[in-house]
């Protein structure tokens, strides 16, 4: 009797302690596994910040200004650093400004922007729409971002050519598709086919096409959280430009450093293209890196936010 009681009590304590440990084990593992099943991150989040700004050096990026945001752009190109127009006489081009662009980009929605800008080069005014149609997704269900751009340029002032006597000759149009991919947090690349049609060929020379295709390729490699190296290249598929000897035309090529400060994005660059707007540099880039005809330039992009602040609960 005594032994059986002892045995029973022993069994009880064993089973009790065992039951307790299993309770604890299952509880712990179930809390963990439950947490894991509950906190699976949402799939297919759009990839953000493929580029820091809506512009690189020559190209526009796939990025748009978000809803009720206003991007104020000041873009500047100095004169030739070397060559006949450069050198110490002009403080390596700093005395001259080959182009100045002041622009505004406003977010009608997160994906749709309306853009307005004015260039010193040819006193060009331009108005455009930009629509970010596809977003790259984190789960690779969409491997790239696609943005469409359409804009119209107007040379509103009488310049030195008589072609503008017919007012419609002052207009040019551009259609562009930008395809970009963020390969890693540091590396983003984009290619962008463009189609430009000028109502009057520019420059107004015999044999110049009014319309042609162009392709640009650009990329950014971040070397710190806030700074990156930018390269931007554009080639117009124009027989006239490729074969013309006087004047000779060149592909646009820019290299620069991009710095983001939270609110501002600065780009400091060197490029052979004198002009900032596609309407000007696609049509008329006559300066050559090899002849020292490249220049210092910068882009300042500042975003203002016009979203209403919601009432703080704090």
């Amino acid at each position: 009797m005594k032994t059986s009681l002892l045995f029973i009590s022993l069994l009880f304590t064993v089973s009790l302690s065992k039951a307790q440990t299993t309770t604890k084990d299952t509880a712990k593992s179930s809390t963990d596994s439950l947490m894991n099943t509950l906190s699976i991150p949402e799939k297919g989040e759009p990839v953000i910040a493929t580029f820091k700004a809506t512009r690189l050096i020559l190209s526009q990026t796939t990025e748009t200004v978000k809803k009720h945001g206003l991007n104020f752009l000041v873009i500047h190109r100095f004169g030739d650093i070397g060559g006949s127009a450069g050198g110490g006489k002009t403080l390596w081009g700093l005395d001259n400004s080959s182009d100045i662009y002041i622009g505004f980009e406003y977010g009608l929605s997160d994906n749709l922007n309306i853009d307005f800008g004015r260039s010193k080069f040819e006193s060009l005014l331009e108005l455009g729409l930009k629509y970010n149609i596809l977003h790259q997704k984190t789960d690779e269900s969409m491997p790239f971002a696609l943005t469409l751009i359409g804009k119209t340029g107007l040379k509103a002032y009488h310049s030195n050519t008589p072609v503008f006597d017919n007012y419609s000759n002052r207009f040019s149009h551009l259609l562009q598709a930008v395809v970009a991919r963020k390969f890693s947090p540091a590396l983003s690349l984009q290619v962008s086919p463009m189609y430009i049609f000028n109502n009057a060929p520019f420059p107004f020379l015999y044999g110049n096409e009014r319309r042609f295709l162009a392709l640009s390729a650009a990329g950014r490699l971040k070397f710190s959280k806030r700074m990156g190296l930018v390269i931007d290249y554009v080639h117009p598929f124009s027989n006239f430009r490729n074969s013309s000897v006087n004047p000779r035309f060149y592909d646009g090529l820019g290299v620069g450093i991009e710095i983001e400060t939270g609110g501002h994005v600065f780009t400091i660059n060197f490029t052979n293209a004198q002009a900032i707007s596609e309407f000007n540099y696609l049509n008329d880039t006559e300066s050559d890196w090899g002849k020292g005809q490249f220049r210092l330039g910068f882009t300042i992009s500042r975003i203002f936010d016009f979203n209403k602040k919601h009432k703080s609960g704090y």
Binding site: T22, T23, M35, L38, I48, P185
Partner: protein, 180 residues
């Protein structure tokens, strides 16, 4: 007889576990940065939490990408520059309530959860105070605490024009339901 006793005991012990687990899939987490130039606030309701009332175990997880800011650019900078949400997509807390609470009785109980808070991939052992409320059998948990950016290697460069507080206030609120 002894077998019945053992079986009863084992059954009782195993049966208990399931009923003590409570889960919340829409925990609200709000963060506040109060600084002289600008007050910044962001909110998410996509936090998840599991509470085991028998053992006191508590787990929280918040997807960083789900925080919504007033300014889109701030939201982008938060993810891209500060939290690096592509590398560290979640902020988590895993710990235990140090106070025993009887969840069968209605009332408000001050509690302390001690455990590991992981933000921006950096783990910190923390003891976080909160309030556990039981009302008509429904359990909810609220808490307010601060996270120092420095503790979690969140760098705020001097170049930044937005003024960001060095310590971020966090409010958490979770309403639990029994997990079946």
């Amino acid at each position: 007889m002894k077998y019945i006793g053992v079986i009863l005991l084992v059954w009782f012990a195993t049966n208990r576990t399931g009923q003590d687990i409570y889960a919340c899939k829409n925990a609200v987490v709000t963060l506040y940065s109060k600084a002289p130039i600008e007050d910044i606030e962001a909110r998410t309701d996509k936090g998840t939490s599991v509470l085991n009332t028998a053992t006191g175990e508590l787990a929280f997880s918040v997807p960083i990408r789900s925080f919504k800011f007033d300014k889109a650019l701030m939201q982008e900078h938060f993810n891209e520059n500060y939290m690096e949400s592509d590398k560290y997509p979640q902020a988590t807390f895993k710990g235990k309530l140090t106070d025993k609470v009887d969840v069968t009785k209605d009332g408000t109980y001050p509690v302390t959860a001690s455990g590991v808070l992981e933000v921006h991939g950096v783990k910190q052992t923390r003891s976080i105070p909160g309030k556990l409320t039981v009302a008509n059998g429904a359990i909810s948990l609220t808490s307010e605490f601060t996270v120092a950016c420095k503790d979690h290697k969140i760098e705020i460069p001097t170049l930044v024009f937005h003024n960001i507080a060095e310590s971020i206030r966090i409010q958490v609120s979770a309403a639990y339901s029994p997990y079946k």
